[in-house]
């Protein structure tokens, strides 16, 4: 940054009067003795933006500074170990991602989805595969040993770590960060929030501890998928529905877990075509663009198949046709001209959706795992088909209300709430859920900070609650990766910056009339935070009893599940409030509105 030159001993620009804040970043106190109004930051994060407020600093300075500082925290986290570091035989997610780079740059494209499933077989959608290919090619320029076929398995080279860490940061700054900026800007426009407060919200979103810990600590590329989702949302907020379908296909095409959002996205798009009046051209447009995006997504895979077929490259010797092929009409034989393409498509789908896997993986704070591991109900009594059906039915039940609201009232303010509710429904009730999937509901929920009143105590409290609880449920995973210290530092830092318990009390001391939590909410929050802190103390000081080595983890899962359930209910209630149906059905009277007593949760 070049310092200004010339006679600059007076300010070059007259400071504009700052617009009166309505979003909860500033606390105004009136001194009783002098009757002077004094403004103070409502929570520590605001304090760091205080100099920018007083001097009306240009966003061209503020934004780069935010990005540089959030980068520092990411990169400092990535100094720590990653999942599976020096842990033979299978290593961890780091090895999975590295292996995908190894196989995509070395094998013909037709082998990608057929290659050895046992050693971290490629089981993500094509966009991840293409991304691996690009990163792998770049890495190959630095050091071919990193991605040598078969020979590089389980490599723990220190420079490889630097490269892989850098690839995560680069991917994030290319996708997630620009999308987050756009999305926050759109939300700011929608809710008329000044750019200073939007910048604060953006910082809070970018410093979200769970995302940093998983992507830059544990090692994954979730932010690419989440970034495409932010772009989807930003396009919806900007009224560009066709772009939103393109971005959503990219979201799905990077990680199938984005299905958590699909019902809400579909409901919103459908609602936009139905209300206020039926809009057939819009519907056709969305349908065509979506199909075309899927075609583009699979095009490299199919074009590569054409090339490999032309060059007569056989499939790996152990390749078995996926079960899905059995459902095809009998007249399709290996001799049919389009057989190789169908084979690739069905095999990729087979890999991406492995129905044969269990209901949940490891210990995750969702309903099924909680029921099972707390011995309330042993799920092993049920057949896997019944379980799948139960999970499906429960998920559908849980996601219907928000999606129905969004379909009937497809308004922009409702979007983040409905997306969060739907994602919570999936996380709590569906099958094959990872503890890391909690990032999906967290994203729209954290975005609430950039909405109207988002940094007032109530919403800030709930957003923080979900974020801190989510980090806490991932603690056992992070400890296994050797990330205990970054976990404590990043969560405590974020909690402190946002004025949340256990590092701040501003959300608990505000009364409900001043935009704080109701007494029900306060009780829930105090109880949960006390539980989390207490759990850490016990976990650190006391070994679990003989014969129950998992007791602490089970306790973690139980409390986490209950808390996430509360988050689901809160998001659902807020969706109802924001959608305005209560006015329509006459429960609320127009003009009365405002802070209604929160529905009793649990």
């Amino acid at each position: 940054m070049a310092p200004p030159t010339g006679p600059s001993h007076r300010p070059r620009r007259k400071p504009k009067p700052t617009t009166l804040s309505l979003n909860g970043t500033i606390t105004t106190t009136t001194s009783t003795t002098t009757n002077n109004r004094q403004e103070t930051p409502a929570f520590p994060l605001v304090a760091f933006f205080w100099p920018a407020k007083a001097s009306n600093t240009s966003p061209w300075i503020i934004l780069p500074s935010i990005l540089l500082i959030t980068f520092l925290f990411r990169w400092a986290t990535s100094l720590w170990p990653y999942s599976g570091h020096a842990k033979p035989p299978l290593h961890g997610d780091f090895e999975a991602q590295r292996h995908w780079m190894e196989l995509t740059i070395n094998l013909p494209i037709t082998h990608w989805y057929f290659h050895d499933l046992e050693w971290w077989g490629l089981d993500y959608p094509p966009l991840t595969a293409y991304h691996s290919w690009v990163v792998g090619q770049i890495g190959n320029l630095f050091n071919p040993d990193w991605f040598a076929l078969y020979l590089s398995r389980g490599t723990d080279d220190i420079d490889l770590k630097v490269f892989m860490r850098a690839s995560v940061v680069a991917s994030e700054y290319l996708v997630y960060v620009p999308a987050a900026i756009l999305c926050v800007r759109q939300l700011g426009k929608l809710h008329s929030i000044n750019s200073w407060e939007s910048a604060i919200a953006l910082t809070a979103i970018l410093l979200q501890p769970a995302t940093i810990l998983i992507d830059h600590g544990h090692f994954q590329y979730n932010t690419v998928m989440l970034g495409f989702m932010l772009a989807t949302l930003a396009s919806m907020l900007a009224g560009k529905l066709l772009w939103s379908s393109v971005f959503f296909v990219a979201t799905l095409g990077f990680k199938q877990m984005a299905l958590f959002y699909a019902p809400a996205v579909a409901a919103y798009l459908a609602g936009q075509c139905l209300f206020p009046r039926i809009d057939i051209p819009r519907f056709l447009g969305i349908a065509v663009v979506t199909l075309a995006s899927f075609a583009v997504l699979f095009f490299p895979l199919l074009a590569g198949t054409a090339l490999d077929t032309y060059r007569n490259i056989p499939l790996p010797a152990d390749a078995k046709p996926p079960p899905l092929m059995a459902f095809l009409p009998e007249n399709i034989t290996p001799q049919t001209r389009y057989h190789p393409y169908l084979l690739q498509l069905t095999q990729s789908i087979h890999r991406i959706f492995p129905f044969a896997r269990g209901l949940f993986e490891d210990k995750v704070a969702n309903i099924w795992c909680t029921l099972h591991s707390t011995h309330i109900y042993k799920l092993s009594h049920l057949s896997s088909t019944n379980l799948s059906r139960a999970a499906l039915a429960l998920t559908l039940t849980a996601l219907t209300p928000p999606c129905l609201l969004l379909l009937l009232k497809p308004t922009k303010p409702l979007l983040p709430y409905a997306l969060a509710t739907t994602a919570w429904a999936f996380f709590l009730c569906s099958y094959q859920v990872h503890e890391k999937n909690v990032l999906l509901p967290l994203l729209p929920m954290t975005l609430l900070l950039a909405t109207d009143g988002g940094m007032k105590p109530a919403i800030r409290a709930w957003t923080g609650y979900a974020n801190l609880l989510a980090c806490w449920t991932m603690f056992p995973l992070l400890v296994r990766d050797g990330l205990r210290v970054p976990y404590f530092i990043l969560t405590a830092l974020w909690a402190w910056l946002m004025g949340l318990p256990p590092c701040g009390t501003s959300t608990l001391t505000t009364s409900a009339e001043d935009g704080g939590l109701s007494w029900v909410g306060k009780t829930i929050h105090v109880a949960t935070y006390a539980g989390m802190v207490g759990w850490h103390v016990v976990e650190m000081a006391v070994a679990p009893p003989e014969g129950k080595p998992d007791l602490w983890v089970v306790a973690n899962v139980g409390l986490g599940c209950a808390g996430f359930g509360v988050c689901y209910l809160w998001c659902l209630w807020r969706s109802v409030e924001v959608s305005g149906v209560l006015y329509d059905v006459g429960i609320w009277k127009r003009g009365v509105g405002g802070e209604k007593k929160k529905k009793k949760t649990q």
């Binding site: 310092p3 100099p51 520092l72 400092a76 100094l79 970054p486």
Partner: protein
């Protein structure tokens, strides 16, 4: 009283989070140096401290620092006893790393306290400026790089220095200031470089009457003398008792070391060495005698004697005389006008002189200039003009301390962020000067800062791509020479500002 946000404590907390995250980062041999000192002071009797040489990193700081290490070692035994064994060279269990890193962060609280005192004692009109200066020191990239990655305890030591400077602000604090500075000297003797400023200031403002230099205040002289003698006695007494002073002093002042440190600190001697290197190529044309033996040694010798191929060799005596000569004008001005501002300016100029002309100067010693200067940088725009190139060159010159790929983004991004945020904030806060600016210093600094970007890109990336591992001294030489220009430029600028105001 209106608070300034972010407060020092808030900034310290946020910075601490980053510093803890940096625990697994690269650490230099200084880490083992300090671990070894923990072990020596913990496991050996006091009379062996300055004789022990199992590790090549012998104890070469004054006794107070040894006592400091002894204090830390009392806590260290609960973290990991193994680090306290003298034979455990390069021991680095994670408990050891976390413990030693944590002590750096914890002892830095002294700096936070000293800075908050600095803001408190500033006059009401310049509180805002003082607050910004304090934040810039607290969050200094120099301290981050040297203390929290490379590993040293500068935050703690500079905290004591600032404490002593701030105490000197009030008449009633002069005695305490002198004693605190004496204690600082017994912690790390590098601060001897600043001692002339203290000597002159305390002499003029404390020992002599305000109206006449012949009005000697004997009471004050005795108090100050007794205070300093007590501090020195506490530090060196035991070693005098054991009759070890020659050994202690030979450890503290190893004059057998070379003129330039392994890596050239950006000072006059770096420019001198650079000219010598260039002259080697020019010598055949100019028919100059070349010392063949020296041709291959100048940049290589780790801690050996530096010899020059063409230019005359430099003796420690020469550097000493030059350093003193560079300090005398400022000291004279301080003697004539003993104000606190002049005192801080003289400290800064003493730092400059010793950094630019001193014998075997470490690049880390640039903090000796930057930190006192920071306290003055916001006095008015002319000071700021001289500060800017120093802020850039001083921090860029620290980059070669960290050479690992993983730490590269941290040092560069942190420094850039600091420069952007603080230089812009300073620009907004610095009041207009009463006098017109003499120099086109702004133009110079703009050009200078602009050059930094391609230079860093070349040294960190392009050089490696073009030459691979060959000519590895080139990037170092460029950074060193570039930084030397900045430091010398800001020194000249500061001299002009100081002597014309």
């Amino acid at each position: 009283m209106a608070e300034h946000y972010p407060t020092l404590l808030q900034s310290a907390l946020a910075a601490t989070a980053l510093k803890v995250l940096l625990w697994p980062a690269y650490r230099s041999t200084d880490f083992d140096v300090h671990r070894n000192w923990l072990a020596i002071t913990h496991s050996l009797p006091l009379k062996d401290w300055y004789y022990e040489k199992t590790s090549e990193w012998t104890l070469d700081y004054p006794p107070f620092f040894a006592y400091f290490e002894w204090t830390l070692s009392q806590a260290a035994q609960y973290a990991d006893r193994a680090m306290l064994q003298v034979r455990n060279l390069e021991y680095h269990s994670w408990q050891t790393v976390h413990f030693q890193r944590a002590t750096v962060i914890a002892t830095e609280l002294v700096l936070v306290y000293a800075l908050s005192l600095f803001v408190q004692t500033s006059p009401a009109g310049s509180k805002k400026q003082a607050h910004a200066s304090a934040l810039s020191v607290l969050l200094s990239p120099g301290l981050l790089i040297i203390d929290h990655i490379h590993f040293q305890y500068n935050g703690f030591l500079y905290g004591i220095l600032i404490l002593s400077i701030v105490l000197a602000r009030k008449k009633s604090g002069l005695l305490a200031s002198g004693i605190v500075f004496a204690a600082l000297l017994c912690l790390k003797h590098i601060y001897l470089y600043l001692a002339p400023a203290y000597f002159v200031y305390l002499l003029r403002a404390y020992c002599l009457g305000p109206r006449s230099v012949f009005d000697i205040k004997f009471g004050n002289c005795v108090k100050l003398g007794l205070g300093i003698a007590t501090v020195a006695g506490l530090a060196f007494g035991p070693f005098i008792y054991y009759d070890q002073m020659p050994q202690v002093l030979s450890r503290l002042f190893p004059f057998s070391r070379g003129l330039c440190h392994a890596y050239w600190a950006p000072n006059v001697w770096a420019m001198y060495s650079f000219s010598d290197r260039v002259l080697i190529y020019a010598a055949p044309y100019l028919k100059l005698p070349v010392d063949a033996e020296a041709v291959n040694s100048v940049t290589r010798g780790l801690v050996g004697d530096t010899s020059f191929a063409i230019l005359p060799n430099v003796s420690p005596r020469t550097t000493f005389i030059l350093t003193l000569a560079a300090q005398i004008p400022a000291l004279a001005k301080l003697f004539l006008a003993p104000t606190w501002d002049n005192f801080v300016a003289t400290i800064t100029l003493c730092g400059y002189a010793s950094f630019l002309f001193g014998w075997h100067v470490h690049e880390k010693a640039i903090l000796l200039v930057i930190i006192p200067f920071s306290l003055l940088a916001l006095k008015d725009r002319r000071y700021l003009g001289a500060f800017r190139p120093l802020a850039v060159s001083g921090h860029v010159s620290l980059f070669p301390l960290l050479f690992t790929a993983m730490e590269f983004p941290i040092k560069v991004v942190y420094t850039i962020t600091w420069l952007v945020v603080f230089l812009l904030a300073f620009d907004r806060l610095a009041p207009a000067s009463e006098k017109a600016r003499v120099f086109l210093l702004d133009r110079f600094s703009l050009l200078y800062i602009a050059v930094a970007i391609p230079l860093i890109a070349y040294c960190s990336l392009i050089h490696q791509l073009v030459f691979g591992a060959k000519f590895e001294f080139l990037p170092l030489m460029f950074i060193s020479s570039y930084s030397a220009v900045g430091v010398v430029g800001s020194w000249l600028g500061f001299l002009v500002v100081f002597f014309t105001s």
